[in-house]
C-alpha cells in the first residue's frame, strides 16, 4: 500500500541512557559493552531483531531527561532505562506517564521503581535493589559471625552508596549488630582514606563494610594495608571488578567478602560463555554492570518473544505485554538463575556471598 518496504520497521527499538563521558563513564561503557554483546548474539539467532540506541546522560538526571526525549524522537519501543540510579530517578515518572516499559541493568535505587506515593508500573530492575543489599549484608555478617564491631565507609554524594549504607545501618540496629564507626567521603575527597581508616581502627572495628564501587575500594584496601589495618572487608556488588583492575595487586583483596549476583570466575556454562565472548570482544573481563546489561537484553528478548511482540506495535501496547510477561516469567542469566520480578518492579534473585581466595571468588558458604 505505501511507498516501499523501507518504511516498515524491521527491529524492535530499545532505548538506553547512561554515562559515556565524565567521571561515571566506566559504568556506562561497561553496560554498553554488555548490552551490545548480547544484542549481537540475540540478533544472530535470526528471530526477532533488536536495535539499541544508547544516549549519553553523564549520570546526570537532567541530562537523562533530555536523553529520554531524544529516544522518544527516535521511536523507542522498549527501554533499558538508565545505567545509574541518580539519572533513572528523574526519568522513572516519565516512563510511567508515557507507559513505556523499562528494565534497568544497574539502577539499584528503589526510587527507580516506586516513589513515596506511587509505584511506577512500567519500570523494572535487573540488579538487586539497594535495600536488599544493605539488609542482606547486615544479615550475612550477623549470621556468619564475621565480627562484632562494624565500621562503614560510604560515599556521601552517591545515591547508590548512601542508599545501601542507610539500610545496612537500619538493619544492623534491628538485628543487634554493633556499628562503631561511620565515615564518609565524596567526589572531591575520594583519594585519601587514611583518616577514615584510622577512625575505624581506633574504634576497634573488626569488620569494615564498604558499600561503594571498586575503584575507591581498591584504594581503601591498599591504604589499610599500608597502615597495617586488617579487618574483614565486606563489599557489595559494586565491589565486583576489583580483581580485574589493571595492575591491581590482588593479594590486597585476599579475604574480602562481597555480596554479588555475578562472579566472573563462576564455572556454569552461561557465565563461562559470557566471559569468554566478552573478553574476545573487548579484551577485558566483564564486571557486574556488563553482566547485568547482558542479562537485560536476554530478559527483554525472552519476554518480547514470549509475548509475540511484533515490530509495528507501539510502545504502550508492548509495555502491557511486557508487564504481563515480567510479572509471571522466570529468567536464567549470568547474574542469577530462576530470577523473578515482583509487581512493583523489584527483582528477586539470590545474592551470592563470595570471598576472595588466591585471587579468585570462592563461594563463601
Amino acid at each position: 500500500n505505501n511507498g516501499g518496504k523501507e518504511d516498515e520497521p524491521k527491529t524492535i527499538k530499545i532505548g538506553l541512557s547512561g554515562p559515556l563521558t565524565g567521571g561515571a563513564a566506566i559504568y556506562g561503557q561497561a553496560v554498553k559493552n554488555g548490552a551490545m554483546l548480547a544484542l549481537a548474539e540475540v540478533n544472530a539467532k535470526g528471530g526477532l531483531q533488536l536495535e539499541i540506541n544508547m544516549q549519553d546522560d553523564e549520570a546526570d538526571s537532567t541530562k537523562a531527561d533530555t536523553a529520554y526525549d531524544e529516544l522518544l524522537d527516535w521511536g523507542m519501543q522498549v527501554s533499558m532505562f538508565t545505567v545509574t540510579s541518580g539519572a533513572g530517578t528523574g526519568v522513572a515518572p516519565r516512563y510511567d506517564e508515557d507507559h513505556i516499559f523499562a528494565l534497568t541493568p544497574s539502577g539499584s535505587a528503589t526510587t527507580l521503581v516506586y516513589s513515596d506515593t506511587k509505584v511506577y508500573e512500567t519500570t523494572f530492575q535487573m540488579c538487586f535493589s539497594d535495600p536488599n543489599q544493605g539488609v542482606g549484608s547486615a544479615d550475612y555478617i550477623k549470621e556468619h559471625n564475621l565480627g562484632t564491631k562494624v565500621a562503614i565507609i560510604y560515599k556521601s554524594d552517591c545515591v547508590y552508596s548512601t542508599g545501601i549504607a542507610q539500610k545496612f545501618v537500619a538493619r544492623a540496629g534491628e538485628i543487634g549488630l554493633e556499628i562503631v564507626f561511620q565515615g564518609a567521603f565524596d567526589d572531591s575527597s575520594a583519594t585519601d582514606f587514611t583518616t577514615q581508616l584510622q577512625g575505624a581502627k581506633a574504634a576497634g572495628a573488626d569488620v569494615l563494610f564498604l558499600p561503594i564501587y571498586y575503584e575507591p575500594a581498591s584504594s581503601i584496601l591498599k591504604q589499610a594495608s599500608d597502615m597495617g589495618y586488617a579487618p574483614i572487608f565486606f563489599g557489595v556488588d559494586g565491589m565486583d571488578g576489583i580483581l580485574t583492575m589493571k595492575g591491581f595487586d590482588t593479594s590486597l583483596a585476599e579475604g574480602v567478602y562481597l555480596l554479588t549476583p555475578f562472579a566472573a570466575d563462576a564455572t556454569d556454562d552461561l557465565t563461562v560463555h559470557f566471559v569468554t565472548e566478552y573478553q574476545k570482544a573487548y579484551g577485558e573481563i566483564p564486571n557486574q554492570f556488563a553482566a547485568d546489561a547482558y542479562d537485560v537484553v536476554y530478559a527483554l528478548y525472552q519476554a518480547l518473544t514470549a509475548g509475540n511482540v511484533t515490530y509495528d506495535m507501539n510502545a504502550q501496547t508492548i509495555a502491557d505485554i511486557m508487564i504481563a510477561q515480567f510479572t509471571t516469567m522466570t529468567f536464567d542469566g549470568v547474574t542469577g538463575t530462576s530470577v523473578t520480578w515482583a509487581a512493583n518492579g523489584e527483582v528477586s534473585k539470590a545474592p551470592k556471598a563470595v570471598v576472595i581466595k588466591n585471587g579468585v571468588y570462592v563461594n563463601a558458604e
Binding site: 537532567t62 529520554y68 522518544l72 528523574g90 516513589s115 548512601t162 565524596d186
Partner: protein, 359 residues
C-alpha cells in the same frame, strides 16, 4: 534622518533593542511551530533549561562583565534557588492547585532566598579582590553542594523533620521526603513551562538593562574600571558591588527555581563547579557586558552537545575542540580588525546615504 541612524547605531540602543527583539521573536516562532508543525521532543525538552541557562548567564554577566569580578560559584545560587523553589512548591501543593501560581511563588521565593544568601556571601567575598574573590565564590559553591548532599528533610503530619544524618528522619505514614541527601529532591511535580522561561528572560533583561543604564550601572562600571578613582569621587565600592552581586544572585535563584521545577528529580551534584564554569563560558563567549551575545552564546553552546549526540563517545571531545576553536577565532586580532573595518564601512555608507537623503 542622520540623527536617527546614529541613534540606531548607538551601541547601547542597538544591543538593547536587539536582545528584546530576539527573545520575543524567538518565542513567537517556537510557539507557532509547536502549535502547527510540531517540534521534536528533544527540542521541546531543551526549551526550559535553555531559558534557565540564559537567565543564569545574563545574571552572571552582570557580575563578571559589568561589575568585573570573576565569580566561579554561580551555580551555588541556582542551587539555593532551585531547592528553595522545589520545597516551596512541594509544601504548597496540597493547598494551592493552580500550577502557574505555585511556580511564580516558587520562583519568587527561590530568588529572594538566593538573594539573601548572596547578600551574606557578598560580605566576605567583596572584601577580597581578583582571584581571591573567585576562589571564595568557588568555595561557597562547594559548601552549598556539600551541605545539600547531606541534608535530609521530610514532611509528615507532625511537620518538618530535618537531619544531617540519613537515618534520623523518620516519617509517620503518608509522610514525604523533600530532600534526601545526594538523591536531592525526588518526585517533584513538574511545573515549569516555556512561557515562564520566556517571561523570566524578559524580566532579567529588563532588570539588567535598566540597572546598567542608570546611576547604579555607572557606579558599578566605575568601580570596575578604577577602584581608587571611584572611591575618590565618593563611590562606596562595596555597596555598589554588593548591589550587582545580590541582583545577580536573585536572578540566578529564580532561574534555578524554574530549572528545578522542570524535572521530577534534582540532585545537588547538578550544581557543581562544572556548571558554574559552563555558565561562565556562555558569558565570556557572549562577550563581557554583552547581553545579546550572551543569549546567543548560551543557545549555541547549550544546544551544541545535544546536536553532537550522534558522535557518542566523541561528543565531549568534539565539543571541547569546538570550544577552544571558538575562543581562538573570536580572539583573533586580524580577524577582529577585518570585521571592525567591515562594520565601519557599512556604517559610513549608511550614514552617508542617510545624510544624502536628508539634504
Amino acid at each position: 534622518m542622520e540623527k536617527m541612524f546614529k541613534k540606531i547605531f548607538d551601541k547601547k540602543h542597538i544591543s538593547r533593542t536587539v536582545s528584546y527583539l530576539i527573545v520575543i521573536v524567538g518565542y513567537i516562532i517556537i510557539q507557532l511551530m509547536m502549535n502547527t508543525v510540531g517540534i521534536k521532543n528533544l527540542f521541546k525538552s531543551l526549551l526550559v533549561p535553555t531559558c534557565c541557562y540564559i537567565v543564569a548567564a545574563l545574571s552572571l554577566n552582570l557580575v563578571v562583565g559589568v561589575s568585573g569580578e570573576l565569580s566561579l560559584g554561580h551555580s551555588g545560587f541556582m542551587s539555593v534557588g532551585a531547592f528553595a523553589g522545589i520545597l516551596v512548591s512541594g509544601l504548597l501543593e496540597p493547598y494551592l492547585a493552580m500550577g502557574w501560581l505555585r511556580l511564580l511563588i516558587a520562583m519568587l521565593v527561590g530568588g529572594v532566598i538566593a538573594g539573601i544568601v548572596g547578600l551574606l556571601i557578598s560580605i566576605p567575598v567583596l572584601k577580597l579582590q581578583g582571584d581571591y574573590l573567585a576562589i571564595v565564590t568557588l568555595a561557597f559553591c562547594q559548601i552549598i553542594k556539600s551541605l545539600l548532599n547531606n541534608i535530609y528533610l521530610g514532611v509528615d503530619n507532625n511537620g518538618l523533620h530535618f537531619s544531617f544524618v540519613q537515618n534520623k528522619v523518620v516519617l509517620s505514614n503518608g509522610g514525604r521526603m523533600l530532600l534526601s541527601g545526594p538523591m536531592g529532591a525526588t518526585a517533584t511535580t513538574r511545573l515549569a513551562t516555556f512561557t515562564a522561561g520566556f517571561l523570566l528572560i524578559l524580566f532579567a533583561l529588563l532588570i539588567i538593562y535598566n540597572l546598567t543604564y542608570s546611576r547604579f550601572g555607572r557606579t558599578i562600571m566605575a568601580a570596575r574600571d578604577n577602584r581608587i578613582a571611584a572611591e575618590s569621587v565618593g563611590i562606596h565600592i562595596r555597596n555598589t558591588k554588593m548591589l550587582a552581586f545580590v541582583i545577580s544572585a536573585i536572578l540566578a535563584g529564580m532561574s534555578g527555581a524554574l530549572f528545578g521545577l522542570n524535572y521530577s528529580t534534582l540532585q545537588p551534584a547538578k550544581f557543581d563547579f562544572n556548571l558554574s564554569i559552563l555558565i561562565l563560558v556562555y558569558v565570556v563567549l557572549g562577550g563581557l557586558g554583552n547581553m545579546t551575545g550572551t543569549i546567543f552564546a548560551t543557545i549555541i553552546l547549550y544546544v551544541l552537545p545535544e546536536l553532537l549526540r550522534g558522535l557518542q563517545d566523541y561528543r565531549m571531545l568534539i565539543y571541547s575542540m569546538i570550544l577552544i576553536l571558538i575562543m581562538l577565532v573570536t580572539n583573533n586580532q586580524s580577524l577582529k580588525e577585518k570585521v571592525e573595518a567591515l562594520i565601519l564601512k557599512i556604517k559610513t555608507r549608511f550614514l552617508k546615504k542617510g545624510s544624502v537623503a536628508n539634504d
